[in-house]
């Protein structure tokens, strides 16, 4: 990269905190989260929209951070897996994933957690079929998915009773 590489500054709210950051204009939100903001929970997978490892929320919507230009995020509200915990308490989804063996190597887990969070925020009573549909863009090479579906349903149940 040369000195005349175009650069962009944006202000965003990331996990409730206001941040201002400057980066090469060609960077994706995924690259800015990881490389500029040190938020490495969001993972680099395929980089092509085909695995869901990079899933985050922008303005309350589920998005793939590998396919979003960071330059587009000025003024945006971004939620990443680092923001799931409430103070020191795990999110019910995180708890259920740990308890039910929904994470093995864990590489896909942040993407699944964020995608499941978007689903349950919109549809707290999601059925197994709806959970499967919502997670259809997330790949896991370890678990075989059933534990993941179980964990999301168990968390939904817990959140409904809380």
């Amino acid at each position: 990269m040369t000195d005349d590489t175009p650069r962009t500054s944006v202000r965003m709210t990331v996990n409730g905190e206001d941040v201002e950051t400057t980066f090469g204009t060609h960077k994706t939100l995924l690259e800015v989260l990881r490389e500029e903001l040190g938020l490495t929970g969001t993972k680099h997978g395929c980089e092509l929209g085909e695995c869901g490892a990079c899933a985050v929320e922008v303005d309350g919507k589920p998005i793939l951070s590998c396919l979003l230009m960071a330059a587009e995020c000025d003024g945006a509200k971004v939620e990443t897996v680092e923001g799931l915990m409430d103070d020191a308490r795990l999110h019910p989804l995180q708890e259920a994933f740990a308890d039910l063996g929904a994470a093995q190597c864990g590489y896909c887990t942040p993407g699944f957690l964020m995608t499941a969070k978007s689903l349950l925020d919109a549809n707290p009573k999601a059925t197994r079929a709806e959970v499967k549909e919502a997670l259809s863009g997330c790949l896991c090479r370890c678990t075989g998915y059933q534990q993941i579906f179980d964990a999301v349903l168990s968390a939904a149940d817990k959140m409904g009773r809380a």
Partner: protein
């Protein structure tokens, strides 16, 4: 990681038009980015400037006279949430799996996404020629075209929306430096004769602004056949619109997707005048695929196209057998 480029977020359509170059490749239009960013990461396109349409006011759905006018930047989610969008189109949108793709992707981007042909995506060009021969024919072409493949182009048009919009008789509004024109969705596509051409009839400095869908009382439907549920394009799809009066078909149109370099409009007029039944649907579908010209590895797509068309017709007629 993409090459560096200049990024522009114009606030009006006029401003956006001024930022677009007159040769393909210098500038690219950014909508939801779900296709464009992967093309850039694979260095298939390497624009010097990206022009984002997010702020030019092209999102939204509104009735206008006898039509539904859908802004090009309307997302798949917004289409799915709108009650007046015809079934053939919502069924196509629902087929694009993963909530993220549906919240990011737009109708304009869906229509103008580039082919998934793996030779194209790996930098061998749209026509994938090497020493004057087709790499597709010599190589793995299980997902390639089974219609309209007699020339150099063997890829399939990837849009799930185009067949639905064509069956519905929709058009697009296109804005350029010299004003606006209207184009049937079918006429948005062409088969390029050389690798320097694109597969669209619009110029690099034109913007598709709206999709205009006639509000009709036809029964319409889309039926897709996919190898896997998520993260993939259909192997074949069919969209149809059928008008039935007193139990008899009075008009019928159909278009196949993912089987030819362009959305493949087919003639199903032999249905007119009779009752649509499982037998007549299967018969017209068999007639349609009799013209197919599969390559050595993709004969299965002919059968899939036939099944998709039969089932789309039955679905539109409310006679689908749900398995």
């Amino acid at each position: 990681m993409m090459h560096a480029f200049e990024y522009a977020a114009p606030k009006s359509l006029d401003e956006a038009l001024k930022l677009l170059g007159s040769a393909w490749g210098d500038t690219e239009i950014l909508a939801g980015g779900t296709d464009l960013l992967s093309l850039m990461k694979d260095f298939v396109v390497q624009p010097k400037r990206l022009v984002n349409l997010a702020d030019v006011g092209l999102a939204g759905i509104a009735p206008e006279g006898d039509s539904l006018v859908i802004g090009a930047m309307t997302t798949l989610d917004a289409l799915l949430a709108h009650a007046s969008v015809p079934t053939a189109l919502t069924q196509a949108a629902a087929g694009v799996h993963s909530p993220q793709l549906r919240s990011m992707g737009t109708i304009g981007g869906d229509l103008l996404q580039r082919p998934r042909c793996w030779y194209f995506r790996r930098g061998h060009g749209l026509l994938a020629q090497k020493d004057g021969a087709s790499m597709v024919e010599a190589g793995d072409h299980r997902d390639h075209a089974v219609f309209g493949n007699g020339g150099a182009a063997k890829y399939v048009n990837p849009s799930s929306f185009a067949p639905a919009l064509i069956a519905l008789g929709a058009s697009v509004k296109v804005r350029g430096q010299n004003g606006e024109r209207s184009l049937a969705v079918k006429d948005l596509y062409r088969t390029p004769a050389s690798a320097t051409e694109r597969e669209f009839t619009i110029a690099s400095n034109e913007i598709v602004t709206h999709v205009v869908v006639p509000i009709s009382r036809s029964s319409n439907a889309t039926y897709e056949i996919r190898q896997r549920h998520g993260l993939d394009w259909p192997e074949a799809s069919a969209s149809v619109a059928v008008t039935v009066v007193d139990d008899k078909v009075t008009a019928a149109s159909a278009c196949l997707g993912h089987v030819a370099p362009v959305p493949w409009t087919v003639d199903v007029s032999s249905l007119v005048g009779s009752v649509l039944t499982a037998e007549s649907a299967a018969a017209v579908a068999a007639e349609v695929v009799a013209d197919a010209t599969p390559l050595t590895m993709n004969g299965h797509k002919v059968e899939l196209a036939k099944v998709a068309l039969t089932r789309a017709l039955l679905r539109a007629a409310g006679k689908e057998v749900v398995r």
